[in-house]
Symmetry: D2
Subunit: 94 residues, 4 copies
Amino acid sequence: MSLTKLTEVEIAAAIAQLAGWSVINGKLHKKFQFKDFVAAFGFMGQVAIVAEKMDHHPELFNVYNRVTIDLTTHDVGGISRLDVELAQKIDSLI
Amino acid sequence: MSLTKLTEVEIAAAIAQLAGWSVINGKLHKKFQFKDFVAAFGFMGQVAIVAEKMDHHPELFNVYNRVTIDLTTHDVGGISRLDVELAQKIDSLI
Amino acid sequence: MSLTKLTEVEIAAAIAQLAGWSVINGKLHKKFQFKDFVAAFGFMGQVAIVAEKMDHHPELFNVYNRVTIDLTTHDVGGISRLDVELAQKIDSLI
Amino acid sequence: MSLTKLTEVEIAAAIAQLAGWSVINGKLHKKFQFKDFVAAFGFMGQVAIVAEKMDHHPELFNVYNRVTIDLTTHDVGGISRLDVELAQKIDSLI
């Protein structure tokens, strides 16, 4: 299945199935908060493995117990089904 | 407080407060099982941070979703209060 | 030693001893690039351990093989000697 | 390509191309030593990602700055080409 940029309608439908994700600056976006840095890092390590396995990598921002993730697909110039899949896999880690 | 080898009575008292730890081959020992390798690795990453922060490192064995941890204190030739503290911190990660 | 905000002169002197670090938006700032995501993540894992051991945490941004680090000390409202120490320790990882 | 157990001749040929690997207890085996625990953990994090991406996981043992890796393929009851591939990928991390 070739990779395409999702339409606004498709993105809205995808977000309706995802808890806490929104579209910010054209990217799937979510903020996570953990009890401390150690827990945040445990999460980031898992995100790293899941992302590399998909060959699809997030923008990851961390400071102390907070992690912010932005997902977009460079090759299609927007959000693709890969971003939605990665968002689902990230949520399943928690 | 200087570091000493705990007596058998002290170790027994410590283990009574710890869930799932036993003494095997003179080391505090516990097996952990996770839903998959990604979860096991997230745990190991957290153990690594906690251990380095204490300057006290476990023997860590991993295969797929299983992690085995053995704790002993080389400097006292046995189990010390550091091993008990690290065991408590490891349990608090879960 | 109490923690204080470094003066501009002190920061300039510190940066002169650090390779690749500058002050951006009032924070010690450096960009790192690795051969791939796996190498970038190996680096981030080490930064995490070093930071937690110092109880001083960076702002960490990662996308694929690039890692950006910003250092500041919330308690002093600027850059402190802790940021300089963490920058040195991060550089020593490479 | 179906997965088969490598013959002794095939294993010997593979090991001849790998630095520091031997067969111990029917597994591809190598010991690694790093300057400290932080470096050892950075390595283990990378091994974890590479392994999960292959869906082929090592036996990993760590204590302080030392990491021991054993590779075998449960489904064939011995060493397969997957173990040789993972050994190559692990070596390329260093």
